[in-house]
Amino acid sequence: MQILAGPIVQILMTAIGFSGGLALAAAGITLIYMTTGTFNFAHASMTAWGFYIVFSLYKVLLGGNPYLYFPVAFIFSGLLGVITYLVVNRWLLKRGADMVTLMMSTLGVDLAFFAFINIFADYLTATYKVNTRLIVLTTEDIILGKIGTFPFKAITIISVVIVVGMALFFYLLLNRTKFGIAFRITVENPALASILGINTETIYLFAWFMGGAMAGLGGAILSLVISGTPTVGNTVIVPEFAASIVGGLYSIYGGLVGGFLIGLSQKLIINWLGSVLGGNIVVYEPIIPLLIMAATLLLYPEGLAGIDWRRIFSRSKSSRR
């Protein structure tokens, strides 16, 4: 128990890295949902592909530095998103399919992508004689320095930089460019947008590319924070869903905040519980995001973004007067 409670700095650093990965993936789910109304189950495999790209290129195929392959993971999973849109989602949207059909079609896509990850893993095992069923890259990260006796890993900083950078990118894109205005109109009212001559298909394509790419980048970050197997997507998808839902499904920033809320509480609460109740409790870690999600939804049925923050702030101001 002492061991659990001891390295709080280290736990915090892992929690930040984990939350960063989760936040990006959750914002990707939100982005796809708010534009196309599709709740994307294939995010599991898109995250797992990001994870696997970093692993295979760094550890098996090319070597060098794991961060070199983050852009590759970003683009690869982005292309998976583009494929999903062009092959499946586009036609369903044209037909005006209902939410459940949209959701289930992405489950089919997820199963196919999952099969491809495993085929790829089998191929790596057969060709390079490496274990592709248990991946531990957490020890391979660059160590920037030391906090006390604990190594300060680069991923802690880099994950936060990526998340902040992404938030800034979306802020500038949505508020300062013509494309951003077109994007917001399409989210608000697709029919009106197309009357105004906005090509909504471009917006959807962009959303699917960025949504997939953020999942891939999230997976790349997670590859340096947690160990994994080809089923890693299946494990992280539930906290990703939880983060996206807690964030409110209608705000990209909500997804990012939700990722940090879920990720930090998952890692910190379980360590606190472990130090209080004993180490056996640690196996229940995956339940924590589910409880937080359930609690949030029962209080605010549309997530954090559904709360009228302005009203709450103005009310607290007026009550102070």
């Binding site: 959701m103 489950l107 099969a115 939880a242 939804l297």
Partner: protein, 359 residues
């Protein structure tokens, strides 16, 4: 003639198709009741299934042990599990009536457990909408699986437990698997008749009205909260029986095997293929998918010679592609939903004719 059929049924592949078909038919019909008829996005089907399996495997088993004066506390699911269940099996073998009673008890406990889960699920189901509700239900299912996997006193944790063989009254060995398969098939047929009669009842029509236009249903005085809760309880009880039958058939319970893919997403795929909202379609969809899955499973080693990949992944790929193809090309499924007539067509027409005469 009869012997020929029996010999054919002894074929493990045929047995595997039949038992998979029967168990998944029960689970998929319960899903269709909730999703197809009531329009609840039930992405947590595994919740009630696993609760039923625990009910039959751990709770009913303990009740039997307690009745016979065997240890029924923590020992039942611990290292004594094998010995206690062995004793129970001996008793069940010597007394067929007791064995039938044990089967009924197991199913009853499973149905109650599944119903309780359905009731719990109704709490979010009347407050949340669409994606929010679907993912919350999915989370419930995952949470129970995690508890089942790691909380050993419940049902043996990761190691799992063996379960009393309530099918002892039909014998042991080969005949046991055949007869139990037929019994499960019989239960599946009963469940089909039950949900079909529900679909044709005023309750079923109220569910469809709620699904198609909640506001209109409310205006006509339908109590939406009550309808949703009832549907979830009935659906949960049926799904719990499905999970229980699988546990009883295989003679063991392991929380690991009750995952979201097998017990939530597969039934969804079966339902979509067969035809959401059409019980006969569900039978067809389940039959087709169970046959394909069992065939891939049975010919795994033979398949390896022909294709360069592990056949496991072929199963995922195939089902993934089928789901996409259904969504794209035939969203209504093989047998699309059609209006359920409360009486047979002939009867309705004769009533109409006599009414016309009366005028």
């Amino acid at each position: 003639m009869m012997e020929g059929i029996l010999e054919y049924l002894y074929n493990p592949l045929v047995l595997s198709i039949l038992v998979n078909m029967a168990v998944f038919l029960i689970v998929t019909l319960s899903l269709n009741l909730e999703t197809g008829f009531a329009g609840i996005p039930q992405f947590g089907r595994v919740l009630a299934v696993i609760a039923g399996a625990i009910g039959a495997g751990a709770i009913a088993g303990r009740m039997m042990a307690a009745m016979m004066g065997l240890p029924a506390g923590i020992e039942y699911v611990g290292d004594q599990n094998f010995v206690i269940v062995g004793e129970l099996n001996k008793a069940l073998e010597s007394n067929p009536l007791l064995s039938i009673g044990a089967l009924i008890l197991s199913l009853a406990v499973a149905a109650v457990m599944g119903g309780i889960m359905g009731y719990l699920a109704s709490y979010p189901a009347i407050r949340l909408k669409e994606a929010y509700l679907g993912i919350t239900l999915l989370a419930f299912g995952d949470a129970l699986q995690i508890v089942g996997m790691y909380y050993d006193p419940l049902a043996g944790g990761t190691a799992g437990i063996v379960v009393p063989d309530v099918f002892r009254f039909v014998g042991t060995g080969e005949i046991r698997f055949l007869s139990s398969t037929l019994i499960i098939l019989g239960i599946a047929i009963l469940v089909y008749l039950y949900v079909q009669s529900l679909a044709r009842s005023p309750f079923g029509r109220a569910l469809k009205a709620m699904r198609d236009n909640e506001l209109a249903a409310k205006v006509y005085g339908k109590d939406i909260v009550n309808l949703r809760a009832k549907t979830l309880i009935i659906g949960g009880a049926l799904a719990g029986m499905g999970g229980a039958l699988w546990t009883l058939y295989t003679g063991s319970f392991k929380a690991l095997t009750y995952n979201r893919l097998t017990w939530t997403f597969w039934p969804w795929a079966f339902m979509m293929l067969g035809g959401t909202g059409n019980n006969l379609g569900i039978v067809l969809g389940t039959l087709v998918f169970s046959t394909v899955r069992s065939l891939i499973y049975a010919y795994k080693t033979e398949l390896t010679a022909f294709i360069p990949i592990n056949p496991n992944w072929l199963e995922y790929l195939l089902i993934g592609v089928i789901i996409i193809a259904i969504a794209l090309f035939r969203p209504q499924g093989i047998l699309p939903e059609k209006p359920e007539l409360p009486l047979s067509r002939k009867k309705i027409e004769s009533i109409r004719a006599s009414l016309a005469k009366g005028d």
